[in-house]
Symmetry: D2
Subunit: 290 residues, 4 copies
């Protein structure tokens, strides 16, 4: 850190970069940062042998304004044909939450937002049920419910989602146990900006009531997977997973309760990493710069 400039350090930037791997990238990027009188406070990189792409995440303290900093980076970005993203560290991500009747994930997200542990700003919770109105209201967050009972009401709900995304310039959509399948069109529209949470078992189970199946097979670990939403149901790139140990004495309903805990903490963790620009996509998998 250059202490002479300490008084001038107005900004703390987070910068993510993706490009085809090759020599000299780090040197070029760091050169641009030096030129902008920035100090790198956190840096992570990864070169994917699978796709030949290079991924980088930096946190930089710099006196430069956003436009000055962008100007300094532009030549490097152009030279390497980088996709990139520049943001202020800690800026709350505008996040739309979709829910149904289960409150555990929504409560965890909103409580942590309020406690300052999760850099998101939730302007709206949309649900296909009214169940969570009071819970959401307690946290001072607007709540709307629109029933989804047929194709027309489903289309209306999804149109409302898209309108909310536009109105609030939403950057992340969280499916916090929203129990409707999104249309392929909505999945495509929200590609890379929607996170879902899903229970997970070893081994996996197809079909209805997986907790009952897990009980019947006597699984010893149950868990949850947070992943990006894609049109391939429950198969999007994985962001985070957790499991917890169970035994034969657990009833199906106890497994549900245990699984819900894993869902809450796994989803919240995934949202946190995404909001901190720590989640990058490398084909079908994620790079997580924890």
């Amino acid at each position: 850190m250059d202490f002479d400039d300490a008084e001038a350090l107005h900004h703390h930037w987070v910068l993510t970069l993706i490009c085809v791997d090759g020599p000299g990238i780090v040197h070029a990027v760091s050169g641009a940062i030096v030129a902008a009188r920035g100090n790198i406070t956190e840096s992570q990189q990864f070169a994917s042998l699978d796709t030949g792409r290079f991924f980088m995440r930096l946190q930089v303290e710099a006196p430069a304004s956003r436009s000055e900093f962008e100007l300094a980076l532009q030549p490097v970005v152009d030279r390497y044909a980088m996709s990139w993203r520049l943001d202020e560290v800690g800026r709350p991500l505008r996040t739309l939450v979709l829910a149904s009747t289960a409150g555990h994930c929504v409560n965890d997200l909103l409580f942590r937002q309020r406690a300052g542990q999760l850099p998101v700003d939730v302007p709206l919770v949309l649900s296909n049920h009214g169940t969570l109105r009071d819970l959401v209201g307690f946290y001072g967050v607007p709540f709307e419910s629109l029933p989804v009972t047929d194709a027309a009401s489903k289309a209306a709900f999804e149109a409302r989602v898209l309108r909310a995304v536009d109105e609030h310039r939403i950057e992340l959509v969280v499916l916090a146990r929203y129990m409707q399948i999104l249309s392929p069109e909505l999945c495509a529209r929200l590609g890379g900006m929607a996170i879902n949470i899903h229970h997970s078992f070893l081994p996996g189970f197809k079909g209805a009531n997986p907790y009952r199946q897990a009980h019947a097979r006597g699984v010893k670990l149950i868990g949850a997977t947070a992943h990006f939403v894609t049109s391939d149901l429950d198969e999007g790139p994985i962001i985070e997973q957790n499991v917890v140990r169970v035994d034969h004495s657990r009833s199906p309903s106890e497994l549900v309760a245990i699984g819900q805990d894993e869902e809450s903490r796994t989803l919240t963790q995934a949202v946190k990493w995404f909001a901190e620009d720590r989640v990058l996509l490398d084909g079908a998998r994620t790079i997580i710069f924890r």
Copy 2:
């Protein structure tokens, strides 16, 4: 504990009982134990709502010989049509180990046997390769290899397994990364007395090279499942599961190494519980009295 009889307490029995659930079972069993002047030092029970069966495991210190103790238990066993098993606590289980080329599971089993941490007695390791001869020999355990390259050599290998089971009065067969599929006949013959170890992923992957698939999907947890061998490949009742966290930076070969650690400790744990009579079958699932 009845201290007056302390000098007479020659035996420490482990007793497992399975029958249709109903009132009075515990009272009847404990009555027989009192009659045999036994003291219950450990007791676990479970009534399965799934199958209506009752499971019990007891450790009993008693002056009674095996035949005296069996005599005392016989009326209760008959009354409730119990399947049961009586053994001495800590008696090493006669265990046949099948292996191929990978040594991690075999080494863990034999090291812990020698260290007195695993109550098994391994009279023979059979392999379809010669790779592990030295490793097994170090532990003073006989080793035989028979190549399995076609139907005839496979039949010969399995016949050798059955002969070994008879010759050594084997009570447990452990597939310690034995990479051949057992014939349905052998699976049936070893039903409830053979344990296999299998890598596990969230989600599961079909087909070849699952570690490469897990890498491609960017899974965050990899693990292992120890289960009973059934003719339904990798789908037998689960005994134990473990997972460990990985990230995007792990190559497929690193995932293999990490997975092997989980396989070793998971298999050894499952064998230990089985050897201690802690694993009972309730239909497609196991009751583990840890």
Copy 3:
């Protein structure tokens, strides 16, 4: 289960028993249960080699009323000089919560109570600050704050605690990050019925700001311990512990946030086990019948 009596099974009892170990106890207890036409649905026992005491927890379905069931048990209880406790499975435990300014533990407790995941009934949250009034109010739970600033106000607070314990016939007092040291008198009065939560580190740290010390030592695991309150500060019998992995990049304030998560889930788990009569004391340690 005796299906002919199915219609008569009005009660589901939980019974805990502690006495000096000796032969025949299980038989005597099960005999009394058979006499009361009860069916044991869950049973755990433990004989402590440390103290020579025997611990038992049973769940029993029986047509007997409480007084009938007590009558059936009385001879056994007398014969073995047992301390015992009989309750209905699932009855919410009357629980007083003490708090200060941090809301994470209180929120977790009240949310799970409302969600039906925690069998407690909280008639009052008492705090030495007003900070949590809104949070507690949202869950429909009465809230009172009394400042504690000197010996007199501390005595007044503790007197209010004792009055609340009497008024509401409190069975459990939870110190949900209540940051005042209880007087030895109050500790004694609440012996065996008050649970505290405490951060935990490997190794432990004495003195102020342990998270800063943990950061300075570069600990890799931080966690939480829930324990019974005794006058020996933070040294009461341990009920539950959890840890989570951290690394060098975590600031002290991030360690605090991570530690709070562990505190919440560890305290809630301990309260759940206590409310389900799964926590028994064996000298300085707990028997947990999970």
Copy 4:
């Protein structure tokens, strides 16, 4: 990666750098690497707010020989007064193992070395007992035992350690359950190059037989800590920690067995990270570039 030069990429270097933090470091380092036609394949950095120091670890593929690469780096190293270390990725670290009678840690280290999972080369195991001679011999590793029974024999043992360090140009000394306290002189001589393993409990216990104390307090988690050896016994900078769950039913000897498993895997992990140049010292704590 510069594919035109693929045939020329003879070396895979690992480079660690430590200096006072300031702007331009990354740029200067990457410039030197570009000049040497190197390609960065892995990079991690950390700026310590505690000490104001900057830490960096790089893996670089480069056609440069060691002397060429050092020449390219020298100006940067000089400018920032860096302490640095350059090595080939995967080169086995010359490692001296000290042991006493317990074989679990030694076995785990030697088995993984032989399996190619641990980049160490162990030219000698030194013990104050002869117990492990056969175990060590199996792995083809020389073994020497010298009894330590008094001050003179202890001095002789330590002299032998120092001679072995010189003879074999030892880079790492692993105390694999070596149960003698090293003299302050030896600790000082081995500063930053000796790793010890230690059981860990929540809370910690002073004095003899901690497993018995842990049992008496009913701890729910036991674990292990691998740390650098310093003259402050068991208080050196922590490299790795693990814990595992236990319950009241575990006897002290079972706790020992469980603790030994944690010791083995924790020590092996710490050695692996050290051998891969992933462990850097920042005052009293370690930076682990996993």
